[in-house]
Symmetry: C2
Subunit: 409 residues, 2 copies
């Protein structure tokens, strides 16, 4: 059996399993150490009561013949799709049709799978630093030769985020087919303003490119002037696909639900130059390789839009954002240079004294028993930086600040 | 944006959405007609009490900070993996390691995604008739030119199932990299004996090929001499990947849980001829593009292995198999030639008078208000046949038999 040889171009492990390995090794050697995890962006607050009530009710429905549900619609149940349309789009002045929304079991899957729409020869642009799934899924599909000594794949166009540009790189000068953007950004916690989004949409229109817009963290936006959806920018619905998730907005990291919006007006071109609607292609992909998200999970997700669900999840997000503020202020007071953490649950620290980011990881784990994520894990431009997440209890956040301060004093 | 041009090689719609479209059109025109659905293989019995109890308990855990679970292990929780090892494998004398089992959100996803392991140039063999996902996912990946006038893709090797071979074709004479096999078979409801499985494993060993063995219906096997797993055949663990699902064994079509077994001894070859373990590749794929099945769902799946869960789900399967027996006997008495339905919830009818299978579909819908699945939807060799599923209430099954008898009298 001849294997897909492109897997060999990937680094040995996906970032988070490698972090898990190092933490397990540390804990095996230090069984009494109380480690505080601010690494992987995983929520810690329990599900909102409105959501668990809806899930209990759904389990009860599944336990009776009259109300049992088997296969659901692959795109998602109407009750959830309509809630998404109304709350996430219509309420912000954006008209999205029901058949432009595709409910899934998670944004990691969606961001890994979306590249199946692209030609093998499509030129892909990614930011650096970047959420690794965008890169790895395109490597596995064979869209680039092996990485060079600098850790970069020659097949991709890299858009470097730096302190100088506020970690918001400009659109590329060279032609690309597609760019992945993420705002509020994972990993830097920084955000794109309306003007920056407008520049990207104008670029996509000028160059007939596609924007994959990952808005998994949109509910953490604090400034009412900042768009939550790229579709709030006129013209975007001809050139963008948007990814949304319930993971961080409703604590669904272990529950699994997300959705992707593919407007019917977004077109690609086939080899003959004919324009083809990506909505039809994604619909075919979704119905061929996916069988709908769990009914119980979809009922829980829909409950996040109920008045009680909105109030409860909004309070959770406010709690995490208070954590982010404590982290930001505490670490700044301790002398760290800190980015992000205002409209996102992530903080992006400059490591002290130009320390390598994996060295910083090991030092933080060893001296402070705090787990974060090395910036280099998000690409070469992340070297010298470090991501901390605001997902934890207040007590742990306070203690983490004290420990980091002491470890680097 | 240059699109994946291979999507255009697919037929216009995936089979089941096309059936859904025709049924909706019929119901719109005949709003009072009581349609009985024996088409898509969807369960109708409610979830077993042991399963819903476990899911309620899991929802409660998710509602409290101390027991809340965020991201789980991508491969699945130990409590489920261990139950699978013990009940599905060790109890049948098969040793499977925990890190050879990959829990997912459904076998449709697994059977669509598994081809990401194959080289683009890998030669794929499929049976005809066949579960369409095996074919379509390889078409979308670009492993074949467009289909010919006969509906067959020139890039694939087709193994024709016919009445003459009991719908169990022999291994191919020409070299192939990989073959998809499904037993108990979807769509024909027929089964591979131990001797037939042994012949396939011997062929795979001789030709260094890979078998993708889809055992989604194994719990419907009635004959204790028939293997439930291909790994019951000596040597198979060097040459096979197995797919299993909770959909039909525990009524999870709307709940979503499945798993794939990739023994560490299964090897492929890279372009330099080096042997590479598929387990490592699949682990990388799974952890890069998937984020674990829902915790609540995994708790429900594990409960299907508890003593109560086993008893309750076994009774459900026995109920469906009684339906299958009624259908088989009733339709045979009405003059139909019927295959399958003994170790599988599917019956495979020969259409009357050589009628085309979509014509038979329309006639059955129009005259008997019964929905089935046209054999041609599973490949050219399915033309002239028709699939009925045994998933329904006893009353509906009895009525369907009467209506079909009357419609074709």
């Amino acid at each position: 059996m001849r294997i897909n040889e492109h897997f060999a171009k990937l680094p040995a492990g996906y970032l988070f399993p490698e972090i898990g390995r190092r933490v397990r090794a540390y804990q095996a050697a230090h069984p009494d150490a109380k480690v505080i995890r601010l690494g992987i962006g995983d929520v810690t607050e329990p599900l909102a009561p409105a959501i668990t009530e809806a899930m209990h009710a759904a389990v009860d429905e599944m336990s009776k013949r009259e109300t049992f549900r088997g296969y659901g619609p692959e795109q998602g149940y109407d009750f959830l799709v309509e809630a998404i349309r109304a709350h996430d789009y219509a309420a912000r002045g954006v008209e999205i049709a029901a058949d432009e929304i595709f409910v899934s079991d998670g944004s990691k899957c969606d961001s890994g799978n979306v590249q199946e729409l692209f030609a093998l020869g499509a030129k892909v642009a990614v930011t650096d630093p970047v959420y690794p799934v965008y890169v790895d899924s395109n490597v596995m599909a064979g869209r680039t030769p092996a990485a060079g000594a600098d850790g970069r794949y020659p097949g991709f166009v890299y858009l470097v985020g730096s302190e100088a540009n506020g970690f918001q790189p400009e659109p590329p000068a060279e032609p690309v087919d597609v760019v992945y953007l993420c705002s509020p950004n994972n990993p830097t916690g920084t955000i794109m303003t309306r003007a920056q989004l407008e520049r990207w949409v104008a670029w996509a229109r000028e160059t007939d490119a596609l924007i994959i817009f990952d808005a998994a963290y949109e509910s953490y936006i604090a400034d009412p002037a900042v768009p939550h959806s790229i579709f709030e920018i006129p013209g975007a619905r001809d050139h963008a696909i948007e990814l949304r998730s319930f993971s961080k907005r409703a604590g669904f990291t272990g529950v699994r639900c997300a959705f992707m919006v593919v407007p019917k007006t977004v077109m690609g071109v086939d080899p003959s130059g004919k324009r083809v609607a990506l909505n039809a292609l994604w619909s075919r992909r979704h119905s061929t390789k996916f069988n709908g998200a769990s009914y119980i999970v979809q009922r829980g997700a829909a409950a996040a839009y109920s008045p009680a669900g909105l109030a409860q999840t909004t309070a959770q997000i406010a709690f995490y954002m208070e954590n982010a503020r404590f982290l930001r202020e505490g670490l700044a007071a301790a002398g760290f240079t800190v980015f992000g953490g205002v409209h996102a649950p992530y903080l992006w620290l400059r490591t002290t004294g130009g320390m390598g980011s994996w060295d910083f990881f090991d030092r933080l784990l060893d001296r402070a028993r705090v787990v974060g994520t090395p910036g280099a894990g998000f690409g070469p431009a992340g070297e010298g930086y470090f991501r901390l997440s605001a997902f934890n209890s207040r007590a742990n956040v306070d203690e983490a600040i004290e420990r980091i301060r002491a470890a680097f004093a």
